[in-house]
Amino acid sequence: MITDVELPEPEKSLPGATVNSDQGLLMWISSVDHKQIGIMYLLMALFYLFVGGLLALLMRVQLLVPNNHFLAPDAYNQLFTMHGTTMIFFVLTPAILGLAVYLVPLQIGANEMAFPRLNAFSFWISLFGGLLLYFSFLAGGAPDAGWFSYAPLNQTQYSASPGIDYYCIGLLLSGIGTVATAGNLAVTIITLRTPSMQYKYMPVFVWMVFIDSFLILAAFPSLNAALAMLLIDRQLDGHFFNTDAGGSALLWQHLFWLFGHPEVYIVVLPPFGVLSEVFQVYSRKPIFGYPFVVGSGIAISLLAFGVWVHHMFATGMGHTVNSFFAVSSMLIGIPTGVKVFNWLGTMYGGSIRFTTGMLFATAFLVEFTIGGLSGISFAIVPIDWQLTDTYYVVAHLHYVFLGGSLFGLFAGLFYWFPKMSGRMYSERLGNWFFWLFVIGFNLTFFVQHILGIIGMPRRVYTYPALAGYSALNLTSSLGAFLMGLSMLVFLYLLYDALKRGKRAGDNPWDGYTFEWLTSSPPPLKNFTTLPPVYSFRPVHDLNHPEIGDYKKPDEEKYGTKDID
């Protein structure tokens, strides 16, 4: 018998309780409510997704035919730099933070983040960091040295426009916001869990956000230090990375990839958590091997700091260094593979509902595995030397960032859309969006593997009419337009759902975690009472007391028991 316990009242009333919905835009701007900030984060990500996507489409127009003169070389340089920077720092990062900020307090049974005002501050400073980055277009030229801004190209003698200064300041500001949110999330999870929710009963998504917070706290300072040094180089005529004056280009690469490699896991771990929620609910089965899903998340985050040198195989550090990091990079495949098998095991024998969210989750398994395999191929040093700086890298990183992170985020977005908006979306439109997006995505990027293998270098504004180049690039561009089209369908889907969508109940998917216990959308105060937690599926235990997890032994609960 499960009985509710009263949630302890906070000592002070929740901030923002005096603001009400009559106040329109002011309610959003002045908000410190974690749900509103979460939604603003997501909207920010969506906005920049369209901006960054537009930049990508411009590039694909330029690459439509050989020897094209649609874009000048310097404009092309600015576009790919801004595209990469935007997508990583202003789409994926805010999107995962948005989901985390929205869902973590709900899933752990809290009414707010630990520091609501800090939460709002982090969001706004990230947003303004992005705006500042884009202001560079008006200030004399956007950054043009690639999203990783390699030295010495990032020095004034090679990039005289103020673009890279804006890059430094924009990323520093948003980096401060990201670190603050990460600290906020970690403290929220440590201190505000409902009393009966032990660590081992936390939803997988909360676990992944928890691990991710530490990853952010450990990785971002390295980027911030590098950016501060670069700014000193450019503004105060320092010599950190200026190779003409004794500086070191490799130092920049080390500092950048010490951040950059963990950053890949920073934007992929929370989607892993999202997928773990999506797979279990839509398969109507608890996640298979909960300890291993969480444990492999920890393993990935720890390994993240021991492999960054594989981004630098081509810098001539010698065979000894390269071989060690080749091996450690291959090791990353193990925990990632464990997770994939956990998800497959969750689906196995479940009664699966192929909603749009589940479609994205399933497609993730395929696309992310492709991205993972092409990643493993880079761990083999000779292959890396052959393929580095070709379109093969472009294909690989898009399969990881899009096929991995973004597919996971879309799965989560569709899964939690009824909760956030209180409306159901149209599955028909969802299906259209999914298939257009997936087909467009694979058309665009799969052929780029081949382009890379036949030697097309990345970051060059055009290409000669060599055999194979034209047809493959045309395919790739058409795929990109298809993705662009699918995003319009997505916008219409959102409009349609908000305008005409059916009212969603509190728990339309028969979900397992606490966010499904409150109304859709949740009120300002998320919960007044909560049932005690006996397993990592508290709402499932409540709704199905006859088969509640808490009655089962651990091995059955975690799905680690052999099935006869």
């Binding site: 032990q198 660590y199 300890p291 444990g295 720890l302 700091f305 010698g318 260094v321 651990d554």
Partner: protein
């Protein structure tokens, strides 16, 4: 068998240490075999291998990587095995000591952390590193000598202190995580953080050694090779000083980190699959 495998050494001091550790276990366990004795024994065997096997000869005479493997084994494998293998029901005098140590490390686990990291860093300051190696007095075969390959007693003392300090530091480092009093152990998630920060500290040192200019650590006189060790090395062995030093740094950086990581993961998995409501990890199997 490769010729290098013939170069076993044997010294009375190491034997004395091994005997002392064995006797210590016996008196703690009340001369009975308790659960975990196997782990303790494995630790002793590994310690003996580090001290007597060709690895030791290589480390003393020509290979910094071998030296590094020795360090890592002593600090990160031998010591945790010894701690894990300590008797669960210590008798007599040892019970109070174990209780006192456990209480101390549960209130100040950072001291264990600092001991582990500090000792590792200390032995890799170029000066102290040099002191822990073979010296100019060639011709002394360390067979049956008291301790170490030198005629100078101070150098021999360092040879004696070197492995002991590493094992001791490893014991201090492992105690808060794996100590014989499960109730006094660190909360496993804090333990993961403890290992992760230690891993960063070790990686930093590994990085420094890897990227330090060739020669900063290479005390073996070029062209001179004690016991002609270089000539017995298998073909393809990275014998050039620069590569050897890089490899030593990388060994600490990458596989060293993997040991911490394995520890963190096993700590976590033990804890989460355990039903014990106190939130502590399961008693060791």
């Amino acid at each position: 068998m490769m010729p290098v495998m013939h170069y076993w050494t044997f010294d009375l001091a190491s034997l004395a240490i091994l005997l002392a550790l064995g006797l210590l276990y016996g008196s703690m366990a009340g001369w009975r075999r308790q659960r975990g004795a196997g782990l303790y024994g494995a630790g002793l065997v590994l310690l003996a291998l580090v001290q007597f096997s060709p690895l030791h000869t290589l480390a003393l005479t020509c290979s910094m990587s071998a030296h590094m493997i020795g360090h890592m084994l002593l600090l990160l494998v031998v010591a945790p095995l010894l701690v894990l293998g300590l008797p669960r029901r210590p008798t007599g005098w040892s019970a109070t000591h174990i209780d006192r140590l456990s209480a101390f490390f549960s209130t100040a686990p950072w001291i264990g952390w600092l001991m582990g990291l500090g000792t590792m860093w200390f032995w890799h300051i170029p000066g102290t590193y040099r002191a822990s190696l073979a010296h100019g007095d060639t011709g002394i075969i360390p067979l049956c000598t008291l301790a170490g390959p030198s005629t100078d007693w101070a150098a021999n003392l360092i040879h004696l202190v070197h492995p002991i300090s590493l094992v001791m530091a490893g014991v201090c480092f492992a105690w808060p995580l794996l100590g014989p009093r499960p109730s006094q152990r660190m909360f496993p998630l804090t333990g993961v953080l403890y290992l992760f920060t230690a891993c960063i500290g070790c990686s930093l040192l590994g990085m420094l050694i890897t990227f330090a200019p060739a020669g900063s650590y290479y005390p073996y006189v070029p062209g001179q090779s004690y016991y002609a060790m270089l000539s017995v090395l298998p073909a393809g062995w990275p014998a050039e000083p620069a590569v050897d030093q890089q490899m030593a740094g990388l060994l600490m950086w990458v596989p060293g980190c993997l040991i911490y990581l394995t520890g963190a993961i096993s700590l976590f998995i033990h804890w989460i699959t355990d039903d014990d409501e106190a939130g502590q990890i399961a008693p060791v199997h």
